[in-house]
């Protein structure tokens, strides 16, 4: 094989993707940090780099304004702020990275919850001059609520506090105090002192902080392994689509297409179909035109069963003896994302995976201050960015697990029946 051919194979086999959420307040230097990651991994292309150099010069900066690498929309360039979730891509020899850059102001809760829901690692930024502030509490609260397994606390702008170890330690111990209050204790937290502007401990090890012997941000990300980022649960297989080709060659083919969540499924497994509770066995597992013995977690496969049973979109296959809750009501932590209020009695569509049911707000237990202040408030409605415990009644049962046991089968979105917009996210208790 030619050397190019060999190289090609390693690229193809790589294709391991790590999604990262970022959280920081305005001016904590989030865009600069991302720009620095891109710059030092040589991911900024010549034309983008030239554009950054040109604009930085026009603005009269004596350094490169990396935030320009990420702030995409016209309004953002005009106001110098980030207003929506942007996705940034870069890769190293080891893996590909997707960063969800979420803004730190007005709709921050909504955007952070959204970004965190699709990410496996979160980076929380702290300005070393300001230390742990109320915003930090919120950022941590949300990443903990979303049960992100791996969180990096990047203490930024170390250059502006003379790379002081005392300052770093003080901020670290303030943050550790917060950690005692978190609900999801198993979450792994790593502290790294950085200067995004000067490039200390982002990709390259800092020469200015000899007292820090830990890893750089990129080193940390490179070492996060796939097995470490997903919580293993029980296999759930929501039916997305029924494939019936009705061709001569595949006359009797009746395949259930979907993605496997939580655990793996094997040929021969005894399964139960929900909601009918009919039992059968897995006959074949297909990915495209090939048969496999095992459907691994998060793979999009097509399953056929030994018996002819009726299944349609929204139904679920689970292993016998491993049933989820089958209920017409539940209580969930809701992150509200709409300007119209959520009030008791309101009706919404609950989209739970690929299943949709009509739901009515039965009761708002209390609003949670997402800052570990421990202050819960009695409210009669929820506004944009509110987080609260809400009880729902459904028009038919859904098949769910608690969010803490199953990230996929324990979450849902709320859809407004009038506007069709996605107005909230929920995590079942």
């Amino acid at each position: 094989m030619s050397s190019t051919g060999f190289e090609l194979l390693t690229i193809i086999e790589k294709m391991d993707v790590l999604k990262i959420a970022t959280a920081g307040s305005v001016d904590d230097g989030k865009s600069t940090l991302i720009g620095r990651l891109l710059y030092d991994t040589k991911s900024l292309t010549t034309d983008k780099l030239e554009a950054i150099e040109k604009t930085s010069k026009q603005k009269g900066y004596d350094y490169l304004d990396f935030s320009l690498a990420t702030d995409g929309l016209v309004a953002e360039r005009e106001q110098g702020i980030t207003i929506d979730v942007a996705h940034i891509y870069f890769s190293t020899a080891k893996k590909s990275y997707i960063i969800a850059d979420t803004p730190g102001h007005v709709e921050y809760t909504r955007n952070m919850v959204t970004g965190a829901s699709t990410s496996q690692v979160a980076i929380i930024l702290i300005d070393a001059r300001k230390g742990v502030i109320e915003q930090t509490n919120r950022h941590f609260f949300i990443n903990n609520l979303l049960r992100i397994k791996d969180v990096v606390v990047a203490i930024n702008k170390m250059d502006l506090v003379d790379f002081s170890e005392e300052k770093y330690n003080a901020i670290k111990s303030d943050f550790e105090e917060l950690m005692g209050k978190r609900d999801y204790q198993e979450q792994k937290i790593t502290f790294i002192p950085v200067s995004a502007l000067k490039g200390d401990n982002v990709v390259n090890k800092s020469q200015n902080m000899p007292w820090y012997s830990g890893e750089t941000l990129l080193d940390h990300l490179e070492e996060v392994e796939r097995k470490d980022i997903y919580n293993v649960g029980t296999p759930r297989f929501p039916v997305q689509f029924v494939i019936r080709p009705k061709t001569e060659e595949h006359h009797d083919f009746r395949g259930f297409a979907g993605k496997v969540y939580g655990g793996e499924l094997n040929v021969g497994d005894e399964v139960v179909a929900l909601p009918s509770l009919t039992r059968s066995k897995i006959k074949d597992i297909y990915f495209y035109d090939k048969k496999f013995q095992t459907a691994s977690r998060r793979s999009s496969v097509t399953i056929t069963l030994e018996d002819e049973i009726n299944l349609s979109r929204g139904d679920m296959l689970v292993k016998a003896g491993d049933l989820p809750a089958i209920e017409k009501q539940f209580t969930a932590t809701i992150s509200w994302m709409d300007s119209q209020k959520l009030s008791p009695g309101n009706k919404y569509i609950v989209q739970h995976g690929v299943n949709k049911v009509l739901a009515k707000v039965d009761n708002i237990h209390h609003k949670i201050n997402p800052d570990y202040s421990g202050i819960d408030t009695e409210v009669d409605g929820l506004g944009m960015n509110d987080i609260a415990q809400v009880r729902f009644k459904l028009n038919k049962p859904i098949f769910f697990d608690k969010f803490k046991d199953h990230r996929t089968n324990g979450s849902f979105i709320l859809i407004d029946t009038q506007s069709n917009n996605t107005v909230g996210a929920g995590f079942i208790n």
């Binding site: 995409g72 495209y288 013995q293 095992t294």
Partner: protein, 300 residues
């Protein structure tokens, strides 16, 4: 080796999941097919999503009339081999009907005119979901695009009022008259697409590989010498080994000098490249916000 599906990469699983959501949530989806590598990749992913059934929606090509002939030959062969339905709507017809006006001069292109033809076709066929091959890594405004992106009656994108997308739940609920643009390979990079084409041994049009072509140079870009491309008299025609990184219509796609004649060397070249893909798209050079403006007006 264990006979399981864990080797299948996350991006492919995600794209297949998205295709199945489209088929389940919409009544009249269509796959927008340009003959470029991204839309060819989409076709392969759709095949995988629905096998052994056929792809349950047609392909549609918005034809500027200024195509590379290699792309059209390729398109017709692919459609025939897979037994798919192909709809073609021509920008020339929109011009003839007086709905759009041909641009003139040095930088004239039919690229922007496609929007009208596309919106008319969506209305004609009552398509409620249009699947496209756009990727977030291509361009800054696209980095904010959702996987299911709702367009209003006028095909417009309201970037400040987008639906949040949580976990992998896709909300495709729309009102009559609205449609959704769907981007199954949103999270792929250019290198991911090329690696996939190599791994899957997917056939692509020959213009993606290095070949001798008559070209001329302008503004540091390599333009095809063709009847469709405006050329000044003092712009000298040269013959060089080039290939294309993206394939739009001839008037808006610039070539790169290359010796890469097979897929392995193309992948290698992309890896080593320091010019981003859209650096060779003349339509984006018009202004910093070129793409964002076109998207608001209903472009792909």
């Amino acid at each position: 080796m264990k006979n399981d599906t864990s080797h299948i990469n996350a991006l492919e699983n995600e794209a297949i999941y998205i295709f199945r959501e489209v088929a389940a949530q919409f009544e009249k989806p269509v796959l927008l097919f340009s003959g470029g590598k991204d839309s060819i990749t989409l076709v392969r992913l759709a095949q995988k999503a629905f096998w052994p059934a056929k792809i349950p929606f047609p392909l549609m090509h918005i034809d500027t009339g200024h195509n590379f002939p290699e792309t059209i030959e390729f398109r017709d062969r692919l459609v025939e081999e897979l037994g798919l339905e192909l709809i073609v709507r021509k920008v020339q017809d929109s011009i003839d009907e007086g709905k759009v006006k041909e641009e003139s001069g040095r930088y004239s292109s039919r690229n922007a005119l496609q929007t009208t033809t596309l919106l008319d076709a969506i209305e004609e066929f009552k398509f409620d979901a249009c699947i496209g091959g756009a990727r977030r890594d291509e361009e800054k405004a696209r980095a904010k695009e959702r996987i299911f992106s709702v367009r209003d009656d006028f095909g417009q994108w309201d970037e400040k009022n987008q639906r949040p997308e949580l976990f992998d739940m896709l909300n495709g609920q729309i009102e009559l008259g609205q449609n959704v643009r769907v981007f199954p390979i949103s999270n792929w990079t250019e290198l991911d697409v090329w690696s996939y084409i190599a791994a899957e041994e997917i056939e692509i049009p020959s213009i993606y590989f290095a070949h001798m072509r008559k070209i001329f140079l302008r503004d540091g870009l390599i333009w095809s010498h063709s009847d469709y491309v405006y050329q000044e008299e003092d712009e000298e025609v040269l013959e060089r080994m080039v290939r294309f990184r993206t394939v739009g219509d001839m008037s808006c796609t610039a070539a790169v000098f290359s010796e890469a004649t097979d897929i392995a060397s193309v992948v290698q070249e992309i890896r080593d490249s320091t010019i981003s893909e859209r650096g060779a798209r003349i339509d984006d050079k018009r202004s910093e916000a070129a793409m964002e403006k076109r998207k608001q007006q209903g472009y792909f």
